[in-house]
Amino acid sequence: MKQPAWRNAAMLAPAVTATVLLFGGALAGAVDQSFTPPLGGGLDSWSLDNWRSVFGDPVFGDALVFTLLTTAMATVLAALLALVIASLMRRGSSAARTAAAFPVPVPHMIVAVVAVLWLAPGGLADRVLGSLPINLVRDQAGLGIVLVYLFKETPFLVLLLLAVMGRRLDEQNEMAAVHGMGRWARLRWVIWPAVRVPLGIGSIIVTAFVFSAFEVPLAVGPNYPPTIGTYALEVTQTDAISGAGEAAAALLVGAAASIAFAVGILALASRQRRSDA
């Protein structure tokens, strides 16, 4: 039986309230901090100094470009890898699925530290294999950062995909085959519509996280350029007076980019739904 709209709203209210208070509160706090004059002032005073300072800093520009690149690489590669792995694992045993999910609960920092121990020059990989053909720790292209995020985020996306790649999808795939659809047509009309929602939502989460996280770039990223997260951390450590406001402004740019990406993905999904119908 269909629930009335007010009852659905009432049932969602606790979760919505917690989300608004936790994340909305943090966001509002960051906005407030970013407009607070660096040298303080009355309760009503505000200024754009922090924003001017951030956008006037060439390091921030480099950090923004570098963050955009590493985030895009990590998200796109994780999504593609997850699609391949989930397709291969959909008929796999539950033991294989559990093994594939193993990296999900491991903290990012631990993976980053292990990556340093293994992949840094003179690390375990060097000792076992001789020397690695490419440098993955503190490399200028940020490959180490992407690698750590691939290790962490791909299993997360695989889990989301496996949840929809069950028996029902197999059955629909068979149905399409016996009605004349070849492999690519089935991918377009059956598989993709089923996986695009979890893949899109998962990618939004991965992007939002990778865009503003600082611990992995701090451990395996290059000394220059920083990411937005490490830039924000550095300004709080180098300038005690205006640092918090500038960090808030920098992180809000990251938040805005994540939100823009989310809106873009949702708009794309909506457009594709309309074109299907």
Partner: protein, 305 residues
């Protein structure tokens, strides 16, 4: 019509024809052409599965027209064709909408329209009525038969329900443990089984014994049997067993179950047990002794071997 108990291999057979299972041995031909090496989408078969398997993200028209989507038929053309079929299966009022709100029976009608839209050389039906509400089953069955007749499409259907097989099939094949035991018209399957297993599956009573001088001893009486003397197995349908005064033999009614259209009576004698289907008015009380007759024209001698 392929009929058989659960686990007989009916669905596997259908899936093999459709190209959804690989063959261990043997071959499959359709219209004189070998098709077993072709992938499922090139075999010219369409399947109506037990579950409708509609795609939630497509509306009803595109679900029905999915074979035309595969052929890249222009959108307007394929939706117009789908609309005709949707009307034909009685879902015209839902043509403009999605598939989520349709009942199980309506979804199965949509699945039937989808299969017909493919204009298959061979239509395969995998227990298409099993997930449908019993009240709607008969109208869906009539629809399938009607469409099949109108379009003249060759159809292979599987079911475990022998009554459904009799109603829908022109030819019934009994499949047990991967082997077709008998293939014949429905009346022959129900009245003239060629093996004991066929007789048992179609619910016939079996009477074993030795024929001497054209007669078989049965519960202190004798039954005239045509054919040579020797060991014999006779079969008779439960509806043909007559209960009443003046019967050939006396047996005890040990069970009587009212089934809506008739009463199933289990009769026990000295050496044998029989099942009889009688009207409620003449059903004996459980525990009572009743006269039982087996009309000779209704007895069928199962061929030896």
């Amino acid at each position: 019509m392929i009929v058989g108990p659960s686990g007989a291999g009916k669905t596997t057979l259908l899936r093999s024809i459709a190209g959804l299972e690989d063959l261990d041995r043997g071959s499959i031909s359709l219209g004189g052409k070998r098709i077993d090496a072709l992938p499922a989408h090139r075999r010219g078969c369409a399947v109506v599965f037990q579950e409708p398997r509609l795609l939630d993200h497509l509306d009803l028209l595109d679900n029905v027209a999915i074979s035309l989507v595969a052929q890249r038929t222009p959108r307007k053309e394929r939706r117009s064709r789908a609309r005709e079929l949707i009307e034909e299966v009685g879902l015209g009022e839902f043509a403009g909408g999605g598939v989520k709100g349709l009942s199980g029976g309506e979804q199965q009608r949509a699945a039937l329209a989808r299969a017909l839209c493919a204009e298959p050389e061979l239509l395969l039906l995998d227990e298409p009525l099993s997930a449908v509400d019993p009240n709607r089953r008969s109208s869906l069955m009539d629809l399938i038969l009607q469409l099949q007749e109108d379009r003249g499409v060759t159809t292979v259907s599987v079911t475990h329900d022998r009554a459904e097989a009799a109603e829908m099939g022109q030819v019934i094949a009994l499949l047990i443990a991967g082997t077709i035991l008998q293939s014949d018209d429905p009346e022959s399957m129900f009245r003239r089984p060629q093996t004991e297993r066929t007789a048992r599956f179609f619910g016939l009573n079996l009477i074993h014994g030795m024929v001497k001088d054209g007669h078989l001893a049965f519960e202190g009486s004798e039954i005239a049997v045509e054919g040579p003397d020797g060991e014999v197995t006779l079969s008779i349908r439960p509806e043909a067993v007559v209960i009443g005064d003046g019967g050939q033999v006396e047996m005890t009614a040990i069970e009587a179950v009212y089934l809506g259209t008739h009463v199933r009576v289990i009769l026990k004698g000295e050496q044998s047990v029989l099942e009889a289907h009688v009207q409620a008015e003449v059903s004996p009380a459980v525990g009572s002794k009743v006269g039982v007759s087996l009309p000779e024209p209704q007895l069928w001698r199962i061929p030896a071997g």
